[in-house]
């Protein structure tokens, strides 16, 4: 065996285990999903080829349309505020000292809670009978607000819950981005007489634009798949007002056992997320020159 061949085999041996796992848990299910979506299929293995019928059904499904609207609205209500709040927090916490370190830990801590705990906490806050907000309103002599049963309030309520839960990770990402910015640029800006606002706008934001893009892309992809909060807080109600796409997929597959149709919706969602992510990347990077 030649040395070159041995090197190549060693290389494949290093990459091999990862490729196997990657294929087993991602590539194979993706392909199987596409295949299943072209069948009328249930959870018990019955398969009947129907071509693109499931996709045609999805395009005309009023429940899916409503779920789509809910999901997009949630993403719009969550991603921009989340990015801005995370940026402001990261800017405030990007300093030495024990106090800032403790606060960094506090903001990160909500992230380690499971969705079950998070929804439980927010149920205590939102519920109109003896919830935290209701108690406050009552003390002020106002009637409690039924956040989780009013069709107009349920989406904002889920959005706020998700904001609270999801803040930690973007804050950490942006903090990491801020710490990559070389300190001497800020010193040069100070000597150039730049005020705080100018420094933020002309130095800091351009320096972390790739981190911000990453945050927006990750959060968009995550919030379009919002599921646990909606299922646990409202079960999609009232009247489907908080049903998200993934919650609908769950209902179709495990409630109605229509696996083929559920998979078709999942593939549509997958395509939508990929397209949005690429669009965001293109929008942000199209003016950047290739790096030297």
């Amino acid at each position: 065996m030649t040395a070159a061949l041995r090197d190549r085999l060693a290389g494949y041996a290093f990459v091999g285990p990862f490729l196997l796992v990657y294929a087993a848990v991602l590539i194979v299910p993706l392909v199987m999903g596409i295949v299943i979506s072209l069948h009328r299929a249930d959870l018990f293995g019955r398969r009947e080829w129907i071509g693109l019928d499931n996709y045609a059904q999805a395009l005309g499904d009023p429940v899916l349309h409503q779920a789509f609207g809910n999901t997009v609205l949630l993403a719009v209500l969550i991603v921009p505020p989340l990015t801005v709040i995370a940026l402001l927090l990261a800017l405030a916490l990007n300093r030495p000292g024990k106090f800032a370190a403790v606060l960094r830990g506090v903001f990160f801590s909500s992230l380690v809670l499971s969705v079950t705990i998070v929804t439980l906490i927010w149920r205590f806050i939102l519920t109109p009978d003896a919830g935290l907000i209701a108690e406050g309103l009552e003390a002020a002599g106002r009637a409690p607000i039924p956040f989780l049963s009013d069709p107009d309030l349920v989406i904002p309520a889920i959005a706020v819950t998700t904001l609270w839960w999801s803040l930690g990770f973007p804050v950490m990402l942006i903090l990491a981005g801020l710490q990559q910015v070389p300190g001497d640029i800020y010193e040069a800006a100070a000597l150039d007489g730049a005020g705080r606002w100018t420094v933020l706008r002309r130095i800091t934001l351009p320096a972390i634009r790739r981190t911000l893009l990453l945050v927006v892309m990750l959060q968009t992809a995550a919030q379009l798949q919002l599921f646990g909060q909606a299922q646990l807080l409202t079960g999609g109600g009232p009247g489907g007002a908080s049903r998200t796409i993934v919650l609908y997929i769950f209902e179709v597959s495990f409630g109605r056992w229509e696996l083929g149709y559920a998979t078709a919706i999942a593939e549509l969602l997958f395509g939508m997320i990929i397209a949005l992510t690429l669009l965001q990347y293109w929008l942000v990077t199209r003016h950047e020159e290739p790096r030297a």
Binding site: P182, D184, I185, E187, A188, A189, A190, L191, D192, G193, A194, G195, T198, R202, I203, P206, A207, R209, E289, R291, A292
Partner: protein
């Protein structure tokens, strides 16, 4: 009072003092080098002048105005950073314009100044590039351009040559020398490279141990170092220091006895140096040479030979262990391990007392 004036500037980080009551006057248009080993406080002093650090006490004045109470941008100072600190996402043009825009300079004035600076520094072709697309030398020029364009009253240069390779360093040194003729401002350069300081500066400020050890022209700090530290620090290779005792005096000049017994008649005025005092005798390599055959001298064993082409340095050990460095013109034939006899130009020797105070030779009246 025009120029820069530092009055009793002190700074410490926690319990660690960095600068202790440093005072200094810099004349307008003067080129000053802060020279010192790592941790001597030279960079901290530069950053205090720039306003990037605050002094614990003391005052900084520039052209008759107190500036240590002002923000860095309001001091009339420009700085070239060690790693250039160019704004990576801005073009060269934007990098240079940034400070002027913040200062509210009119748009066509900015354009005019950029064109002028780009012309001087030969970067006119690079104006629309970003720093990431440029070489180290080009970035250095942009950093200098960004400083010039502000027409500051004082230029600060933090280790300006340390990031460049040897060839570029020589060229940039020439450019820095030209820079001073083009700007109507004083320049202060921080460096740990004495060749830079010696060749560029009008005066050198040597810092060590939180204090200024000496301020003087390159010739002064070389020929009349204020103390043993400066004597060791300036000069390459450094001055050799031989332990000795004062043997007596002869016509008002001290004679010293080296550890191995030889007595040297120096040209150092006796003054308060009394016989029996323990001292160190400082000898520059150019005052130690190989003795001619038959000439009396110090027996030594060569340990290391440094051949530079035009001259050769011999690092040798005297009997008794003291280290001495001799200079031989040309390429030389001495090899490590050779036993040699060294002739010493005793009237050029310096004498340092135990406290480090220097006593220099003086020509006889």
């Amino acid at each position: 009072m025009s120029g820069l004036e530092l009055i009793d500037v002190s700074k410490s980080y926690g319990a660690t003092p960095v600068l202790e009551r440093v005072s200094l006057s810099v004349l307008p248009r003067e080129f000053i080098a802060f020279l010192g080993p790592s941790g001597s406080g030279k960079s901290t002093l530069l950053r205090i002048i720039a306003g990037l650090e605050t002094a614990d006490s003391g005052e900084v004045w520039l052209d008759g105005e107190r500036i240590d109470t002002r923000s860095p941008g309001a001091r009339g100072i420009a700085m070239v950073f060690q790693h250039y600190a160019l704004y990576p996402h801005m073009t060269v043009r934007e990098n240079m314009a940034f400070g002027l825009r913040n200062a509210g300079v009119a748009r066509d004035e900015i354009t005019r100044r950029i064109a002028q600076a780009a012309d001087i520094l030969e970067i006119a072709e690079q104006l629309d590039k970003k720093p990431g697309q440029m070489s180290g030398g080009q970035r250095q020029r942009v950093a200098i351009g960004r400083a010039i364009i502000k027409q500051p009253r004082l230029f600060l240069l933090d280790e300006p040559l340390s990031n460049l390779d040897a060839a570029l360093r020589g060229r940039t040194r020439v450019e820095l020398a030209q820079l001073r003729t083009r700007v109507d401002a004083a320049l202060i350069m921080v460096t740990h490279d004495q060749a830079e300081a010696m060749t560029l500066a009008d005066r050198i400020v040597i810092l060590d141990d939180c204090c200024i050890q000496q301020v003087g022209t390159p010739a002064e700090v070389y020929a009349r170092p204020a103390n043993a530290f400066v004597a060791r620090f300036v000069g390459s290779p450094p001055m050799a220091m031989l332990p000795a005792t004062i043997a007596g005096e002869e016509a008002g000049r001290v004679c010293v006895r080296l550890a191995e017994g030889t007595v040297l008649a120096t040209a150092v005025p006796a003054g308060e140096l009394v016989a029996g005092t323990e001292v160190e005798v400082g000898l520059r390599p150019e005052h130690v040479r190989l003795a001619a055959p038959g000439e009396a001298g110090l027996a030594a064993q060569v340990e290391l030979v440094e051949r530079l082409g035009d001259r050769t340095f011999l690092y040798a050990k005297l009997e008794g262990g003291a280290e001495i460095i001799a200079l031989e013109p040309g390429f030389g034939t001495v090899r490590p391990g050779d036993a040699v006899t060294l002739a010493i130009d005793a009237p050029c020797a310096h004498v340092f007392t135990a406290s480090g105070a220097a006593h220099h030779p003086e020509p006889r009246a």
